[in-house]
Subunit: 342 residues, 2 copies
Amino acid sequence: MNRRIEKLLAKAPRFMLIHDPANMYYLSGFTGDNGVLVLGENRRALITDSRYTAQGEKECPGFEVIDYKNAPMLSVAAGMTGAASCGFEADSISLKTYRDICAYIKNPAETHGLVEELRLIKDENEIKAIRKACLLADEAAAWLKNRIVPGIGEKELAAELEYHMKMQGAEGEAFPGIIAAGENAAFPHHAPEDRIIKEGDMVKCDFGCIKDRYCSDITRTFFIGEPSAEFAKIYGIVLEAQQRAIEAVKPGIPGKDIDSVAREFIAGAGYGDRFGHGLGHGLGLSVHDSPAFSPSSDLVLQPGIVATVEPGIYIPGRGGIRIEDDILVTENGCEILTHADK
Amino acid sequence: MNRRIEKLLAKAPRFMLIHDPANMYYLSGFTGDNGVLVLGENRRALITDSRYTAQGEKECPGFEVIDYKNAPMLSVAAGMTGAASCGFEADSISLKTYRDICAYIKNPAETHGLVEELRLIKDENEIKAIRKACLLADEAAAWLKNRIVPGIGEKELAAELEYHMKMQGAEGEAFPGIIAAGENAAFPHHAPEDRIIKEGDMVKCDFGCIKDRYCSDITRTFFIGEPSAEFAKIYGIVLEAQQRAIEAVKPGIPGKDIDSVAREFIAGAGYGDRFGHGLGHGLGLSVHDSPAFSPSSDLVLQPGIVATVEPGIYIPGRGGIRIEDDILVTENGCEILTHADK
């Protein structure tokens, strides 16, 4: 983590305040959800409330842990005498925190996405954690395939799936699972309802879990019985769009070009207006770690980036198909991290 | 909801922007998590992104629903021509939203807790929802009592409890459940671990659920086998502290006086330094709806306030006892809403 802090300070003002919980964890190992890190060349401090000081001492070796009582920024300012300027994370703080910073800190300087930029490239330990999360997602997809039977409700299945992943060792869901049957599959982000799954339904299942604090994210669309000719065809188009996009992934390529590969293939098949969302997103400590594959993504791929590839085609009133896997960009291309049957 | 909006506008600037999702739901019925309400004497608008426009039309009768594309504040400003001033919720917005407001809105005026103040007093429908959530919590507590057996782990039990509540009809947990066995019970907010529950343990279980969007929150501490003489005594003290506090609840009394009743009783029994947190908090659309019973609470009780009463005594390294119920302040006193065995 010291290496990470050094990298950050090379790009940041002399002192840096970190408020975002995932960024705090990334730089210090602190798992509490309240506090601020103060980072400087010769300064490593975690300022938090009394609930978390003992935990901070344990989790953040090398850090001074300070109980902020009721004035976090006063504590920060007291520990920064002489600092000429101090950066803060403008994208993730509240108006209240901003006011506190301005009241106590001399020359506050806005920064944007500095830690997020570091987090983009995963190191060996991070990749190990993501692999574990993907393995759990694969296992859950296999379990789901047998568990989706006519008569079970979307909500019931979503609750069972969460419970199952936790029992297999997941720390939790990466996000509330999507179980969308039949016509509900036409909504890309459907929230599970009381709808009962029945013979002839397609069931779109988008879920993921957290393991060692890192996320996985997978989508499989199952058919209960035989698919209609139309949706069998759509399934094939989505699958080929995904394969083509994955084959195009390699370092140096802009994310939007990968998006185009899938988007143009789907458009060529006549469903261009039925694929409204981006092709994929970065994955890591959060489930939407960074923009990755979308028509507007400026990201240029580099080894160590982990992202989802998830094209979909949605037909209002009738249903929808999405297939999603997680990939790791390598030196020459990419490695697929999820392997559940399609 | 029109009545709620009228009440709000009676206290607010001529126009009011609402960003907080729970406040948006309270005033409009909108259940999406992104958007802004524009409220004025002759203006009801929901400005949200394309994912939520159809949903907004359905959920918010009487509101104009506007797709904000990529400029929510531009859309707001365009619809407010002639507004002399416009209030915004300073406590719940990000720095980015604040900047957007300042860029587009003439004379923005900070407001603090206006909607939260209205939400403090529950109406009939809200109380009905909270009663349902409490009934589910009671049922889960009864289920838990039989399910806590030597050999089961804290994490496993927490996952089962969540699944069980969802199967009984809960929309979800009100917060991640706390299952704390033996020495772990000494931490007021322990996160479930792999620790296995064994004969002789006390197990502190703090959980709640969401039903019709409203929360319940309950704590029961169980003994596996016979409690030690010390913790049997502590259990009695906590229970009596809670009963005394509940008996003291009635309209016109400051929340801090209710806190004092429990706090002084616990201090008199010799455990004053072992009860560190507040006695209770408001409950409603969020699980910490408002400060209610704490040494610093300025709240004066009124009929329709719903709150928790949850004294505890925690002995580092050995364990802790907390007992929590939810109450509704009535004209003459209060009604206890949770009834699980103690």
